[in-house]
Symmetry: C2
Subunit: 233 residues, 2 copies
DNA sequence: CAATCCGTGTAATCGGTGCTTACATTCACA
DNA sequence: TGTGAATGTAAGCACCGATTACACGGATTG
């Protein structure tokens, strides 16, 4: 397994020295400079264009203007590239979720739960292909201790705490929180999945309706578990 | 995939007419007999072994004992083969659903709804890879008028009628049936998807628990929409 | 029965793909 | 200033989907 000696460069990129001495030779320099980054971006673009299946190492190399073998200096396999792509998508997803949560009311755990669900759904529907590659775990490296598992564990813990708080404050009328949590996740995940799997046309949900329907469905679920049978927003 | 072994099908050169006149059914006849069927089965088996990605026309041909080009007499492309595979899986799924429904109580629409959901989940969890290929619509031929769309439309209509009946009988405490229907589908689909996408390990759900958890989650949803806050089974 | 048609198999081949190896170039640092 | 490590290229392997030309043989005819 060659080329596995590149993890340091993946750490918050901007520490790259200007390798090209001030003068710019119009001809492409022998060394690309930041091929790893460019390959991930090209792959992300390919995912956006034709789904995960449409990503080929050669095409990514082609778009990066580099020979077909070059990517293998940075990724030992196509799966490793997809892994990096998935981690990048996961990073963006996580950032959006955290931004949404930071703007959520602090004293209303059920409201925060709703806010989290909405942010999840909105991101998933705005970035369907990115969501696809982070949702099916086959693009993550299960052996290596990547940040993905940790990210997810944190998110799961977060919702667990939200629900526990909500229950403690008397916002819920059901006590089996683990069940509520899994059901909620299944609902939200299922909705996002139905979107990217192309189910909505046959459900009479158009793209314009999808966002509204997502909100409706989430509210229906929350009404189902909330103590007060009224609107929870 | 490794090179494997290429068994020399016919070591003889061109000077071998291979007379196979009426008398030898033991040796493989020139015409296979039911290659289409065998190819679909082989592909289904491949799906079961390594997911949809693991299906290759050549491997299916190899397992059917025919040359790599033979399958293209029956399927114009790999996608067409996958299409047939998906339709076969859909057929089996549909059969199981109908069997479960025929054994469901007639006078209790909400109970029938639950029964349908359970049958859906059980089949999806017992045949994860088959469920995968019928759930993401990319393996269906969207142009041709296949029975799949009709199947799904019928299933959707069926649940719609169930819910309408349940509401008419006063079993539901919510009136927006379309929303209930989509939420229910999202919940069930999401749960099945979480299973095949490998989410359960990080949710503390093991294979043994999965069936029980599926039932729990489905019941939680039904409790959320049912008028009487009791168990609905 | 014999001739023929045509559905269905084989063989050879093409371009695309992941991946490896050998070699070339350049950067970073002692 | 030299030198090794990092990172690019070139060539080539096996497998893949797909196409084409040809071979076989069952079914339909006269």
């Amino acid at each position: 397994m060659p080329a596995a000696s590149k993890p340091p460069a993946a750490k918050a990129g901007p520490a790259k020295p200007r390798r090209r001495n001030a003068r710019a030779p119009a001809a492409r320099p022998y060394h690309h400079g930041d091929l790893r980054r460019v390959l991930i971006d090209a792959a992300l673009q390919l995912v956006g264009e034709g789904g995960p299946e449409a990503v080929s190492v050669r095409e990514a190399a082609r778009r990066a203007g580099v020979s077909p073998g070059a990517p293998f200096r940075h990724f030992p396999s196509r799966d490793a590239l997809m892994n990096a792509v998935a981690e990048e998508a996961q990073r963006r997803f996580r950032a959006e979720i955290e931004a949404a949560l930071s703007a959520a009311p602090a004293g209303d755990p059920l409201g925060r739960f709703r806010c989290l669900g909405l942010a999840y759904l909105r991101w998933a529907m705005k970035n369907p292909t990115h969501f696809e590659i982070i949702s099916s775990r086959r693009f993550f490296d299960h052996d290596r201790a990547s940040g993905v598992s940790q990210d997810n564990a944190e998110l799961i813990d977060l919702t667990e705490r939200m629900l526990a708080e909500a229950f403690a404050q008397g916002q819920l009328r059901v006590g089996d929180l683990k069940r509520v949590q899994i059901a909620g996740r299944a609902l939200i995940y299922g909705f996002a999945r139905m979107n990217i799997d192309g189910h909505f046309p046959r459900w009479g949900v158009t793209g314009a309706d999808a966002g509204r329907t997502a909100e409706d469905v989430l509210d229906l679920f929350i009404e189902g578990i909330a103590k007060v049978p009224g609107k929870s927003a």
